[in-house]
């Protein structure tokens, strides 16, 4: 306990966690948008759009996140010379968010698709037979019910995203938790248990409320049939 207090006063641990939370929030936003677009492509009547969405999702779902992150750094930045900002740290930060968003959007798409599977086909048939267009049917009837049916898997995806945000280290985001943890262990090898505990407890404090919230929301929003 004493060791943990010493470590906490010597290092700015909350600031590192704040970087991970920011990475998570931005990536959650972008991956949600991209995931919705992907899932609409997957249920669209156009074969080529469905094919593209399947290929995209399968690619990013099966690709290790570390490889995506390293590719963002060495491929997109170093080779392709694409950069968000001339400031190195800002550039790495947004490259990491891009990588996380691409990776997570595949899982958001899959979560939403599991939600869409809870919506009976008759709902779409009724909507179409009333004269609603594909986008009206998707946006007003299918997706709202799918969201309510996929709160739990979306919550799990968010939790995974928060933990995955530590992989941003692979894209040279140097201020986040796993990098700070490495530094702390390097300079305080004798207090390694305390260092581990600080970060373990930190993530538990962040993740347990997400789990509780999504369970509560999932029950509250469930569509009764």
């Amino acid at each position: 306990m004493q060791e943990m207090m010493t470590l906490l006063s010597n290092y700015n641990v909350p600031a590192a966690f704040w970087v991970n939370v920011q990475l998570t929030l931005w990536s959650a936003l972008f991956s949600l948008i991209l995931g919705v677009i992907l899932v609409m492509m997957r249920i669209s009547p156009v074969g080529s759009l469905r094919g593209f969405a399947v290929a995209f999702v399968e690619f990013f779902k099966n690709m290790p996140l570390t490889i995506i992150m390293v590719f963002m750094l060495l491929g997109v930045f170093v080779q392709l010379r694409f950069q968000f900002s001339s400031t190195f740290s800002t550039n790495f930060y947004w490259l990491a968010i891009t990588g996380l968003s691409l990776y997570t959007s595949a899982f958001v798409c899959e979560s939403l698709r599991s939600g869409i599977n809870t919506v009976p086909l008759g709902q779409a048939e009724a909507a179409r037979s009333l004269g609603l267009s594909f986008f009206q049917t998707a946006g007003l009837i299918i997706l709202p019910q799918a969201f309510r049916g996929s709160v739990a898997p979306l919550g799990n995806t968010l939790i995974a995203l928060l933990k995955n945000s530590t992989v941003a280290a692979a894209a040279s985001v140097a201020t986040e938790t796993s990098t700070l943890m490495k530094t702390m262990i390097e300079y305080n090898a004798s207090m390694i248990i305390a260092v581990f505990l600080i970060f373990a407890i930190g993530y538990v404090i962040l993740i347990i409320p997400i789990g509780l919230l999504t369970t509560w929301l999932s029950n509250k929003l469930a569509v009764r049939r």
């Binding site: 009976p120 008759g122 709902q123 009724a126 009333l130 004269g131 609603l132 007003l140 009764r224």
Partner: protein, 260 residues
């Protein structure tokens, strides 16, 4: 009732102009030949009842009319125009053809009132007030106006199906398709739905009804079509069909249905 149905009435029940025409329609599910050379005309104001054993293709036939099922060959025309492919044209056509399903298919996340107002607002562009006013009139007509703010799951099956009919009527359809509207209902709720349908028939709505309710067929149908194995085997007025059944297949079917 609304101006649309009054218009239909004023043009005369069962006038000679065909509203729905099916020309040599063929449909396969893989190897299975589910619709075999179907030729059928439904006149304006006519109530056509399709009966037949399960798997005879009668539901499929009903669903091809608003293109929920695609056909392999032949042609279907609504009001003289061939059924469009996907896109805006098809959307427009579907808005003019009402459909009532066996499993009601009310939008589970929307209130009863929102279920009825959604399409008039989004497809016809009615204002919220206008759509709600019409919806309440329709709900009152089918006797569920007191449930307007509830969710579908809070209503009985009979009430849900009456809401589904009101939802279709809100689009002022030219023709209404009923795909076994009472087959998922408890016996005591069948009458309340059939009563609404009989009223609609009397007001001159053009209707295509797939059903096992022989009482409804006798009472409300202008014409009964008997299907088996994807073919139309026999058709005629209810009196002709029920009292002077021609084909063995239909006699056999009616014998089984009316035995108890």
């Amino acid at each position: 009732m609304t101006s649309a149905s009054e218009k239909v009435v004023s043009e005369g029940v069962a006038s000679s102009k065909p509203l729905v025409e099916l020309d040599h329609v063929e449909k396969y599910y893989g190897e299975l030949h589910v619709l075999k050379d179907i030729n059928l005309e439904v006149k304006k104001g006519e109530v056509l009842v399709i009966i037949g054993p399960s798997g005879s293709g009668k539901s499929t036939l009903c669903r091809t009319i608003n293109r929920l099922e695609l056909i392999n060959s032949g042609e279907i025309r609504i009001d003289g125009k061939p059924l469009p492919q996907e896109g805006k044209e098809l959307t427009k056509l579907r808005a003019e053809v009402g459909m009532v399903f066996q499993s009601f298919n009310l939008f589970a996340h929307k209130s009863i009132l929102d279920n009825v107002t959604l399409a008039p607002r989004k497809v016809l562009g009615l204002s919220k007030d206008q759509a709600e006013k019409e919806a309440m009139e329709l709900l009152a007509r089918v006797g569920v106006d007191s449930q307007a703010n509830k969710l579908p799951a809070q209503l009985s099956g009979g009430q849900q199906q009456r809401v589904a009919i009101a939802r279709s009527l809100a689009m002022h359809p030219k023709v209404m398709l009923f795909d076994e509207p009472t087959s998922a209902l408890d016996p005591e709720m069948i009458t309340e739905v059939l009563d609404v349908m009989v009223d609609l028939a009397k007001e001159g709505m053009t209707m295509v009804v797939v059903t096992h309710e022989m009482g409804f067929a006798r009472q409300a149908a202008d014409r009964v079509v008997f299907m088996a194995d994807g073919q139309i085997l026999e058709q005629g007025t209810p009196a002709e069909f029920f009292d002077h059944t021609k084909t063995e297949r239909a006699k056999d079917f009616l014998g089984k249905i009316l035995a108890h």
